[in-house]
């Protein structure tokens, strides 16, 4: 019965979304507060209904209710409770339900934030959000209903794809969806602004927390997904330029650009039209990401739902929303008033450059991801666009972006002083150079590109540090005063510094991978192989039985200079129900570096094929992403708002205590 209540709640949510879309839109047009007021209970009601539906499905999974088709196909009664729980979204139908749950959750949050939003903007935005909810609820109910029943109920399920039975999966999709769907709010606000024909700093202020929230979750989701692929797929790589990864990277790049352009708009009332366009594009890319993953048009490890009928439905949604919003944009954008002026060399100018480069980077990823599909559709030629392509296109755009980042974040609003700013960054530059030289000396050389990457990373970290120092300290000032002033800096300034330094950490982590080593060995128990600065001895290979799998465990002793520093276990696992083998890598963390062991086939001579990786400072890649998100969160807690004050031309020599975003 509970399952059916969930099913009905989902249908009810669709009814509520229809009301949420239609009536507030009309109310905003007529300036009728009562009609606009409907948006709030409708959005809250839709969220409650979807939450009931999601809870019902979760209960069915936890109780292994095999009268639900979705549970049969993706679950097994011997699964540990945690994975029975995460199986809910480990499949197409459940993950779409999660998508809509998050969508309506954001809708409900917007509905509740009465204070910070003008009534008409809120009503229009909720109406636009309602339209998205209608499309996706209909999609779920019609083409991928998680509440389809089977009778008589089979006694056992078919189990979740073992590769998805992992804690990483438990966290990865919800985070990613919080990001994807969070951008629906930015999109809804953009649509609302276009409908109203009015956009200003108030709009930017209303939209920025949502964009920031979405961006921060997307950052975490991408990092999580990357780490999951790293340890679960057993190839030791952390980014594969897989179309599905690209699908999440594109909205991230566009979202990052949006984040920065919203700042310009909030502070300086400029870049209005571009920001609206960017908000539309960001969410369109999120939808495209959903489409790429869900329709199975791509060959990818994530393609666990492959059904063209669904693809056609999503394609229709995609065309309707992207096409519709772009048409709305073309029609209404000319009505938006142009905003404030600024000199090319200024914080605004730097942020425009940031936007240009991020948008171009996003475009190269877009081309690299979709070109093979287009080519195959047109000529039938099948090609694969991989790492070499992105190295040749994406990197040359991102590297200059990172190189000018410290400069841009120190420029003043409206009109900046390039020379003065560069001067203030001199210390940071020297620091970065010294750190790079030290690192290269320690590592005894390395590829040029990697050294440049290291230098870039150090420069970003030092530049962020210098920004904070320059804001709170002038020559001759007592340190105590500087400390007080630093603490007095707005949290958003700290957030920016942390996030930008984190970008540097990621760059260092990526560059350091040039020094990683890979060793292939065929080993018998007792034999020793070297991996980086460590030696590994294969102690034993033992069989072991888990809750729903069997595995062979290879245990290695890790030694350095003849001393044992620990053991690491790598597994070859066989999931009984699906008869599917997986490789579980053994990972030993030493500081920010990792030793990575992956098992291969038993060899004819009786040995075991093993692959060792030594990955120096690899954790900086994901640690950096965590810091980036932390910077976003820090900035989010700063609810203050300011007007960007230009530095007076004659006051340029003074430390520019420019209020930050």
């Amino acid at each position: 019965m509970i399952v059916e209540i969930g099913h009905f709640a989902l249908a009810l949510a669709l009814g509520l979304s229809l009301v949420q879309c239609a009536l507030p839109l009309w109310g905003a047009r007529m300036r009728d507060p009562a009609l606009m007021g409907i948006a709030t209970p409708a959005a809250l009601g839709a969220f409650l209904c979807v939450a009931v539906a999601f809870a019902a499905l979760t209960l069915a999974y936890v109780q292994s209710d095999f009268s639900v088709l979705n549970v049969v196909e993706n679950s097994h009664s011997t699964q540990p409770l945690l994975y029975r729980f995460t199986s809910v979204w480990g499949n197409h139908e459940g993950s779409m339900l999660l998508w809509v749950l998050i969508l309506t959750l954001f809708g409900a949050l917007v509905a509740l934030s009465r204070r910070s939003l003008p009534e008409r903007l809120r009503a229009n935005a909720l109406a636009a959000q309602g339209a998205i909810a209608i499309a996706f609820l209909a999609f779920i109910l019609v083409t991928s209903n998680p509440f389809a029943r089977v009778t008589p109920a089979p006694f056992e399920g078919q189990d979740l794809n073992p590769i998805l039975q992992d804690l990483g999966l438990a966290i990865h999709p919800p985070l990613l969806y919080l990001g994807y769907v969070g951008f629906s709010i930015s999109f809804a606000f953009a649509a609302a602004a276009l409908i109203e024909g009015r956009i200003d700093a108030v709009w930017a202020r209303a939209v920025r927390p949502w964009t920031l929230t979405a961006w921060l979750f997307l950052t975490l989701g991408i990092a999580m997904g990357s780490y999951w692929a790293y340890y679960e797929l057993g190839w030791g790589g952390w980014w594969f330029w897989d179309p599905v990864e690209n699908a999440s990277l594109m909205p991230w790049l566009a979202g990052t650009a949006l984040l920065h352009s919203t700042i310009v708009m909030e502070k300086r009332d400029a870049l209005k039209v571009w920001t609206v366009l960017l908000a539309i594009l960001t969410f369109s890319l999120s939808l495209l990401g959903t489409f790429l993953v869900r329709s199975g048009v791509l060959t990818s490890v994530h393609a666990f739902a492959t059904d063209p009928a669904r693809g056609v439905f999503i394609l229709a949604i995609l065309v309707a929303f992207i096409g519709g919003s772009l048409a709305l944009f073309a029609w209404r954008a000319p009505m938006l008033k142009p905003g404030g002026l600024f000199a090319p060399v200024s914080r605004e100018g730097a942020l425009v450059l940031n936007n240009l480069l991020l948008a171009s980077a996003c475009a190269t990823v877009f081309i690299g991801t979709l070109y093979p599909l287009a080519l195959e559709a047109l000529t039938g030629d099948k090609i694969s666009v991989g790492e070499p392509f992105f190295n040749a296109t994406f990197l040359p755009i991102v590297v200059p972006l990172l190189a000018v980042l410290p400069l841009g974040q120190s420029l003043a609003w409206k009109r900046g002083d390039l020379l003065g700013t560069a001067e203030r960054l001199f210390a940071a530059f020297a620091l970065a150079l010294a750190a790079t030289l030290a690192a290269v000396a320690f590592a005894e050389g390395g590829p040029v590109v990697a050294v440049l990457g290291l230098a870039l990373g150090f420069f970003l970290v030092a530049g962020s540090l210098a920004d904070i120092v320059n804001r709170s300290w002038t020559r001759g000032m007592p340190l105590a005063t500087a400390w007080r002033r630093a603490r007095g800096l707005p949290r958003s300034a700290w957030g920016m510094a942390v996030a930008h330094a984190a970008v540097g950490l990621v760059a260092i982590g990526i560059a350091a991978q040039a020094w990683s080593t890979e060793t292939l060995a065929v080993m018998k128990p007792g034999e020793v192989a070297a991996a980086g600065p460590y030696q590994l001895r294969l102690d034993a290979v033992l069989p072991r039985t888990g809750p729903n799998y069997r595995e062979d465990v290879a245990r290695f002793s890790v030694m350095r200079h003849g001393e044992t520093v620990g053991t690491v276990e790598a597994m070859k696992r066989l999931y009984v129900t699906r008869g599917m083998p997986t490789t579980e890598a053994g990972i030993m963390t030493r500081g920010p570096s990792q030793l990575y062991v992956s098992l291969g086939e038993p060899q004819p001579g009786g040995g075991l094929g093993v692959r060792f990786y030594w990955k120096p400072y690899v954790l900086l890649i994901w640690g950096g992403a965590l810091f980036m998100a932390a910077g976003g969160a820090l900035s989010l807690t700063d609810r203050r708002l300011r007007v960007g004050a230009p530095a007076r031309a004659r006051a340029a020599a003074l430390p520019a205590a420019t209020p930050a975003e």
Binding site: Q158, L341, E601, Q603
Partner: protein, 148 residues
């Protein structure tokens, strides 16, 4: 600067960045893209030795020969023709005879294929999309298997 000049500066900057991106993409398209071929394609399309591409098909039954260390030899077939593949390294979990496989590497003058990476998908019923298409062309493929 007047508003117009500023706008022109902005547009100029935008155009140059876009031109840069476009140039990079076109440049990269020329030599970083890898084509996908089946064993029959190699013969029919006359793929030249030394070309880098992805080879897809089924691992021919009984063709896997493990050699010294981790080197391995196997044949990839689309049931019409087959190509001998040589590879050194760990094979993926689901590399099995009769299963779909995609290998990336270079065709040698002898007609053998030297692979530097071998992919097999993490699903028991998995068939790389390109392999499925190749086999469909040869009329062998019969759908996704009995269970999902």
């Amino acid at each position: 600067m007047t508003r117009k000049q500023r706008r022109l500066t902005l547009i100029g900057a935008a155009l140059s960045v876009i031109a840069l991106a476009l140039g990079l993409v076109l440049f990269a398209m020329r030599d970083t893209i890898v084509f996908f071929h089946g064993p029959t394609d190699i013969a029919e399309k006359g793929v030249r030795p030394g070309t880098r591409f992805r080879l897809g098909g089924l691992v021919k039954e009984g063709s896997v020969v493990r050699g010294e260390g981790q080197s391995v030899r196997f044949e990839v077939t689309d049931t019409n023709r087959s190509v001998l593949v040589r590879y050194t390294g760990l094979l993926p979990d689901l590399f099995r005879e009769g299963q779909g496989v995609v290998a990336e590497g270079v065709l040698e003058p002898s007609g053998d294929f030297r692979a530097d990476s071998v992919l097999a998908k993490h699903d028991e019923t998995y068939m790389p999309r390109e392999v499925a298409d190749t086999l469909k062309k040869q009329g062998v493929w019969q759908g996704e298997g009995s269970r999902r």
